[in-house]
Symmetry: C2
Subunit: 116 residues, 2 copies
């Protein structure tokens, strides 16, 4: 029942996971290093990483016994695009209302004040 956008927004709806993302903007890191600042058992922390990976926000690869996690910021695209579109439609609506208001004024007042 949860689509990709649900998963993406949900991944960002948690402070721990956003902290991990912020850390990763400075470069990839192994699980242990990522987990260090978080007062949480490792298996619990792992779930957060898995959730970020499911959302496509992060990828990971095994190097020896370490798992190196890296950011994939392209993943934010759909979220940003969606928000932008909403704002643009909303602003478009304001423009249209303004246009309507002007037309009504023109129709009801055949001698607008800016015309001498």
């Amino acid at each position: 029942m949860a689509n990709q956008m649900d998963i993406l927004f949900l991944a960002l709806a948690d402070q721990t996971r956003r902290d991990v993302v912020e850390r990763l903007t400075h470069g990839e890191a192994p699980i242990k290093e990522l987990a260090a600042p978080h007062d949480m058992a490792l298996p619990s922390f792992l779930k957060h990483i898995d959730r970020l990976e499911d959302a496509g926000v992060v990828t990971s690869r095994k190097v020896g016994r370490q798992r190196i996690v890296a950011l994939t910021p392209e993943a934010f695209g759909p979220a940003e695009t969606w928000i932008d579109r909403q704002k643009r439609v909303w602003e478009g609506r304001l423009d249209r209302l303004e246009a309507v208001a002007k037309r009504i004024e023109a129709e009801t007042n055949p001698f607008p004040k800016d015309e001498t």
Copy 2:
């Protein structure tokens, strides 16, 4: 345990709620009209509206027995800003890596190829 940003992202992490937002970009509407396209009992739908309102994405006022809901797109700000910041830090990092790479090249190769 959930901060304001959690609540905002969580509000957007649901198709029904995103649909409502999209509808509201075209103008405010009473609950019943908003609920109509959604195959869901009214009390269930109400919870979604309440969640959007908690997140600040929407406001509502009572007019007679109707409750009119309107969008407040400024609420998206924090989400957009956060995502943008992550991308900017990430890109900054790439720039820095590039700079480092250039410096290393210059140090190891005193006669770069573009110099005759």
